[in-house]
Symmetry: C2
Subunit: 125 residues, 2 copies
DNA sequence: GATTGCTTACGAATATAATCGTATAAAATA
DNA sequence: TATTTTATACGATTATATTCGTAAGCAATC
C-alpha cells in the first residue's frame, strides 16, 4: 500500500523548496517563500508543523532548530499530479498533454533530442 | 488583459463535464457528478451558481431550467495548469514533464507518430 | 546575570470551499 | 383544479486552508 498524499498549494510550494535543498530549517524555507509571498515566519512554521503531522515531512528534533526532510518524493508527486491532470483536463490522453506542453513551452534542442530518443525506445516496445 | 481563472477542484470537475457536452443543465451535470461523488443536487446547483458569479460559466435563463455554458475555454485551462505544473513540479523544464508523462502513461502508436511529427516541426524552427 | 534575539508550540482568527436544508414558484400530471 | 414533481434561490452549516499573535524556552551577547 502507498498512501496518496494531496498536498495543498502552500504545502506544494514548501515541498518544492525542500526537494531543492534535500532538507532545510523553517527559516531557510521561509526565506525562499518570502520572495514570492508576503507572509509571517510563524505562518511558514505552522504549515511545516502541519505537514509533519500529515506525514508529508519528517523532522530532526535533536537540536533546538529543527531540520525538515520531505517524505513524499518529488517523482511520486509528479506522477500523481500528471496523472490527475491527464484525466481531468486531457480526457485521459497523454499525447494531448504532451502536444499542449510542447506547443506552449518549446524545449531546447538537446531536450528535444532526448525526448525523441525516448519515443524511439517506446516504439520498440 | 485576460483574467486568469483558478477553478477549484469541484469547479474543474463541472467544467470538464460542460466542455464535454458544450453546455448542460444542472441536472445533466449532476447526473455525471453523482457517478463519482455522493453529493446532493443542491450542492451541484450551488456550485454552478457560484461559478456563474465568478464568470466561469454563463447561463441561459429564458426557460425555467437554466442552461449553463462554460466561458473558460478548455485550451486556456490546459495552458494554465500545464504552465503552473511545469513551474512548481518540474523546475521549469517542459521536457521533464514530457518525459514523465510518456514514461508513466504510454500513448498509442498513432499518438506517438503524431508527437514525433510535432517534434520534427519544432526542430525546424 | 540581565537583555536581546531566535526558536518552537499552540490557540485563535480569518478566508475559502463544499455541503445541504428549506422556501418558493413553475410545470407536469392525476 | 389539486397534487406531485422539478427547478431555482439562498441562508446556514461544516470542512479545510491559511494566517498570525503570544507565550515560553534556549542561547548568544551585553
Amino acid at each position: 500500500m502507498n498512501k496518496t498524499f494531496r498536498p495543498t498549494e502552500s504545502e506544494l510550494e514548501i515541498l518544492s523548496i525542500l526537494w531543492d535543498k534535500e532538507n532545510a530549517t523553517v527559516r531557510e524555507v521561509h526565506e525562499v517563500v518570502q520572495k514570492t509571498k508576503d507572509v509571517g515566519y510563524t505562518t511558514t512554521l505552522k504549515l511545516m508543523q502541519i505537514m509533519n503531522e500529515k506525514g508529508l515531512v519528517t523532522r530532526n528534533v535533536s537540536s533546538k532548530t529543527h531540520i525538515y526532510t520531505p517524505t513524499l518524493k518529488k517523482e511520486k508527486a509528479q506522477e500523481q499530479f500528471v496523472g490527475k491532470m491527464i484525466q481531468t483536463l486531457f480526457s485521459g490522453s497523454t499525447s494531448q498533454l504532451v502536444m499542449q506542453a510542447l506547443g506552449k513551452h518549446k524545449p531546447s534542442d538537446s531536450d528535444l533530442a532526448e525526448i525523441k530518443s525516448m519515443i524511439q525506445k517506446l516504439e520498440r516496445k
